[in-house]
């Protein structure tokens, strides 16, 4: 009996000693001290306390690398080029990197633990990305599965962006979803209204963020987002403009049309909005108003499957056959597309067939 008790005491003592050693090791050995993160060859240098992920440390210093999973290594979006330091590539990163990226030493910033000085390179436009806090000022039901959201900015109080850009909205924990994710949504408001931000969000079955927006977010709630991101923006020319976007793809087009109106644009514009049935149409009156406000703007809703017996007397089928009717000079036409890869591909093919130069077709693909 005494022998057993002694054994238990010895084993417990050893375990306790090892636990204490681990705590001490964490305090002293794993103390990486101050490290320097050099970004874009000295453009910015930040001093940080080592030990956290590169993504976190950059975020703490107001440098926001796009990430959808909140740093859990499950989205593969937070890529940066490591010029020096960073330790060896981890097995958790490899699946997200292609051969060229591996060769270029592209890494997932959420998987790099900063333990020493590190030099990285990021796209220069990321320097202007900010994190915003805002209040939900209005939630509107546009259709059965699309909502329009208006946020009033709290901090910073103003946002500068270009029509066509997007932000990453951060969810809050709800129901079984205990952590935060970020998802990209195009901004639908006019860039001239710098104190508000609008988004158009369609419910995605099984979607973590869209379920939160549709079922859990209320007017008056506080939210956070980062941005602006993206290069799907209006080209500074006088060319005719074709907008082609259905569903929530209407968001960047709304922003563009409102911006162009505010700046007195005289460009010829046609917006083809493809939908299935009448219940998929929204903001129709809004765009009809812009037909009156702008000197040469036409809104063309097209229904592919109008309900039987419906009073729809507009265009039917797909939008493609109607392009020619509105095309003045294909060589002097720009197209702005937002939607599924299938739609982008079909529309691009048709526009090229009509003579629109490929380098004048701009798109924001859902893929």
């Amino acid at each position: 009996m005494t022998f057993i008790l002694w054994n238990i005491l010895i084993v417990s003592g050893i375990s306790g000693g090892l636990a204490l050693l681990l705590v001490l090791a964490d305090m002293f050995i794993a103390n990486y001290g101050e490290c320097t993160i050099d970004i874009n060859n000295g453009k910015k240098q930040i001093k940080v306390e080592g030990g956290s992920s590169l993504l976190t440390l950059l975020g703490d210093n107001n440098l926001f690398i796009p990430s959808a999973c909140g740093g859990r290594g499950s989205c593969g979006f937070c890529k940066v080029k490591v010029l020096e330091g960073g330790g060896p590539l981890l097995p958790t990163e490899k699946p997200y990197l292609n051969a060229q990226e591996l060769k270029d030493n592209i890494r997932l910033s959420c998987q790099i633990k900063v333990k020493e000085d590190i030099k990285i390179w990021i796209p220069p436009e990321l320097f202007s990305i900010k994190r915003f806090r805002a209040k939900v000022a209005k939630i509107e039901d546009y259709t059965y599965d699309i909502k329009g959201l208006t946020f009033k900015l709290i901090e910073p109080t103003r946002i500068e962006f270009k029509a066509g850009q997007y932000v990453q909205l951060e969810t809050k924990p709800y129901a079984k979803n205990k952590s935060t994710v970020s998802r990209a949504y195009s901004i639908s408001s006019n860039p001239d209204h710098e104190d508000i931000l609008q988004l158009i969000i369609r419910r995605v079955p099984e979607g973590i963020c869209t379920t939160w927006v549709h079922d859990h977010l209320n007017e008056g709630d506080e939210i956070s987002f980062t941005g602006p991101f993206g290069d799907f923006v209006i080209q500074d020319t006088e060319a005719d403009m074709f907008f082609i976007a259905g569903g929530s793809g209407k968001a960047p087009i709304k922003s563009m049309v409102e911006y162009l109106h505010n700046h007195g644009s005289k460009r010829r514009m046609v917006y083809f909005f493809g939908a299935r049935t009448k219940k998929d149409l929204y903001l129709t009156e809004h765009f009809r108003e812009y037909e009156k406000k702008l000197p040469d703007f036409t809104y063309v809703p097209v229904l592919s499957q109008p309900e039987e017996g419906s009073d729809w007397d507009g265009r039917t089928g797909y939008v493609l056959p109607y392009f020619q009717e509105f095309m003045r000079d294909p060589a002097k036409t720009e197209a702005y597309l937002c939607g599924s890869p299938g739609m982008i591909s079909a529309v691009t093919k048709e526009l090229k067939k009509l003579g629109v130069p490929e380098d004048r077709i701009f798109y924001d693909s859902f893929a």
């Binding site: 959808a68 999973c69 859990r72 499950s74 989205c75 593969g76 958790t92 490899k94 699946p95 997200y96 990197l97 292609n98 079984k176 979803n177 205990k178 952590s179 994710v181 998802r183 990209a184 949504y185 369609r202 995605v204 079955p205 099984e206 979607g207 973590i208 379920t211 259905g246 929530s248 493809g274 299935r276 592919s304 499957q305 797909y318 939607g339 599924s340 890869p341 299938g342 739609m343 591909s345 079909a346 859902f366 893929a367």
Partner: protein
Amino acid sequence: MKQTPKEIQIIERMQPGILTRDGFLGYDERHLNEIIETDEGELQALGITAEEIADRMDFFTERAFDSYDGPIVIEEQFQVEYKSFRGKLVCPFMHGGGYRKGIIYFTNLKHNFQVQWTPLNIHLIREHHFFQGKGSKFRLEPRILSKVLF
């Protein structure tokens, strides 16, 4: 059942709220390996491989992508429709790349039977023989797929 660190990580990624709202395992309490092995056994009994099923799903999916958001009928017997959403889904087994976030609605007109899947489903079936856990929204039954896809 003993789990490797990688298995633990994969199972974590399959939980609700990590990659999708409700996760990949539904109410299935079996170990991931057991789910996969049971479905592999069923495929063997049916005399079909996961690759053959994935190939057929790929065929319909490609046609659905091309259909530009409207339903199309293939071989006079199958109707497919693709609903697209913004973004990509990643593989819980940590394969690289992303899979289009969209749903393929497939109807076998002869049997009047409908199933739905995502591009990620095809990858999970082809590469991992994983048809998802019972009760998962995108669980696909090998027995049903073997009947309706061909």
